[in-house]
């Protein structure tokens, strides 16, 4: 799992630190563009804010990615895909949710088809509030996440593993069938 390649040379604590440092500095993200938040990604990527300087680059598939961006409201149908993508990512993996919709339903609070709290279904490491959050806020979120990783606080993937059954139960409560 998390073994140290050279246990005799590198102490286990340092190895963990190295690992966290590496993860922090090289966040490859897959952005799941569900809502209006996707609009805010291009300025964040391009020359104005340039998130690549922190080593954050967009990736095409969850297999390669460490960071899942959920950029807006999550319909039930979309949630299914989000869960799948999340489960296809390799540990350690992190989730950032954008805007108020994944936090509390936001604009779609009384929709019959939209979930209100993403956290119930997959573990979210960072929420960026706002409707929509500006690129500055997004950058700030990224930095916060990096800090959290460095301090070992971004442990959503551990939570998901630990409470897998509960997460699954929550998910199944909104999905009628898993294979639709």
């Amino acid at each position: 799992m998390n073994e140290n390649p050279l246990p005799s040379i590198i102490p286990e604590k340092d190895w963990k630190k190295i690992q966290r440092m590496l993860s922090k500095r090289s966040l490859w993200m897959i952005h799941f563009c569900t809502g209006c938040g996707a609009m805010e990604m291009p300025p964040t990527m391009t020359s104005r804010y340039d998130m690549e300087r922190f080593g954050i680059i967009p990736m095409a598939t969850p297999r390669q990615a460490d960071l899942l961006l959920v950029t807006g409201y999550v319909a039930v149908k979309t949630l299914k895909r989000i869960v799948r993508v999340y489960e296809q990512m390799q540990d350690p993996k992190y989730v950032i949710s954008f805007g108020s919709c994944p936090i509390n339903g936001g604009l779609y609070w009384d929709s019959y088809n939209t979930i209100k709290r993403l956290d119930k279904y997959i573990p979210v490491d960072i929420y960026i509030a706002g409707c929509m959050p500006r690129p500055e806020a997004i950058m700030d979120g990224f930095l916060k996440l990096m800090k959290d990783i460095d301090e070992g606080r971004a442990d959503g993937w551990l939570r998901y593993r630990k409470y897998y059954d509960k997460y699954k139960a929550n998910q199944m409560r909104v999905f009628r069938r898993w294979d639709e």
Binding site: L22, D50, R63, Q90
Partner: protein
């Protein structure tokens, strides 16, 4: 009786060169990102970013695999690219290039690609299949001019051995001076060989989810990054060895160890230049479709390379230019 100590020293030096090549390759990838970012008016990541990326990927906690054929990709990819590097003279050091020639090199270069393609195919993701199809089609496209170029060089210098080619270029003239058109065609082919824009069709992250790599993550992707770092060096060095005399400016026979150091530096400079050219084109171009790439390669670079071939043929067969 084989001189075992000499062989061991050779092997050690070769290993060092291979290690350095991979390191330089990763550095180049980082430089590439930085340069591209600067062209895009961005800051860009630090040049050492790719070391971090590889480290992170190799240190990932979970890795998934599909089946045993899937494992061919990183294994053959990395082993093959190291083997290829071993057959390329780098900075005037011949490595194994005395034991095999250009044709061998051409085929050894296929091993990593084939291994990669096998692993990608085994992921049973349709995107991977499409990606490999594009990669192979692209290969058929750029090999046409590139083989003509190789042939012109082999005919003009009357050798298929890179080792001999380097010494002939050192004593006579760099091939870029003799065959400028072929060099042009080769550089065009190089763009496709390195899969830089406008020929990054096989990867095409936005169309086919990075194609063959779609299912690779963790250590698999890490090893594939090492492979792509190695192939950057393979491709640039191939161009430098073919046309720029491999960067050999001092004859090791007279200058000894100094020559190796100087040649290594010159070689580094030259591959850097070649890499930069590729990067500049990469940074400003959109992507071709695969048919367009095929048509392009079998049209202009091939015509240029054919003219170069005719030139080499005339020089060698009729004018008696004998380097």
């Amino acid at each position: 009786m084989i001189d075992w100590i000499n062989v061991l020293i050779q092997a050690g030096v070769t290993a060092l060169y291979l290690f350095l090549a991979i390191v330089i390759g990763l550095l180049f990838l980082g430089i590439g990102r930085k340069v591209t970012a600067r062209i895009h008016n961005r800051v860009g990541p630090p040049v050492y970013q790719n070391f971090i990326d590889v480290g992170k990927l190799l240190a990932k906690k979970t890795n998934i695999r599909h089946n045993w054929i899937f494992d061919f990709a990183p294994l053959f990819g990395l082993a093959g690219v190291l083997l290829t590097l071993a057959y390329l003279p780098m900075g005037g050091y011949r490595l194994l290039s005395g034991e095999g020639d250009l044709i061998l090199l051409l085929y050894v270069m296929v091993i990593p690609a084939l291994g990669f393609a096998l692993g990608a195919g085994a992921s049973s993701n349709p995107n991977a299949g499409v990606g490999v199809m594009r990669a192979l089609t692209l290969m058929l496209s750029y090999e046409m001019p590139f083989l003509l170029v190789l042939l012109s060089i082999m005919i003009l210098y009357n050798t298929a051995s890179l080792d001999v080619l380097l010494s002939k270029q050192m004593h006579f003239a760099w091939a870029i001076a003799m065959l400028p058109l072929s060099a042009l065609a080769a550089d065009m082919a190089l763009q496709g060989m390195m899969m830089e824009k406008p020929f990054d069709i096989p990867l095409a992250p936005h169309e086919i989810a990075s194609g063959p790599m779609v299912e690779f993550g963790g250590k698999y992707l890490g090893m594939l990054m090492l492979y792509s770092a190695g192939s950057v060096i393979v491709e640039t060095t191939l161009f430098v060895d073919l046309f720029l005399g491999g960067g050999v400016v001092l004859d090791p026979a007279t200058y000894g160890i100094l020559a190796y150091v100087v040649n290594y530096l010159v070689w580094f400079l030259l591959i850097f230049v070649v890499w930069l050219i590729a990067l500049f084109i990469n940074a400003v171009f959109p992507r071709f479709r695969i048919e367009q790439a095929f048509k392009f390669y079998w049209k202009w670079p091939t015509i240029i390379a054919a003219i170069g071939l005719v030139q080499a043929y005339i020089m060698s067969a009729f004018l008696g230019v004998m380097p």
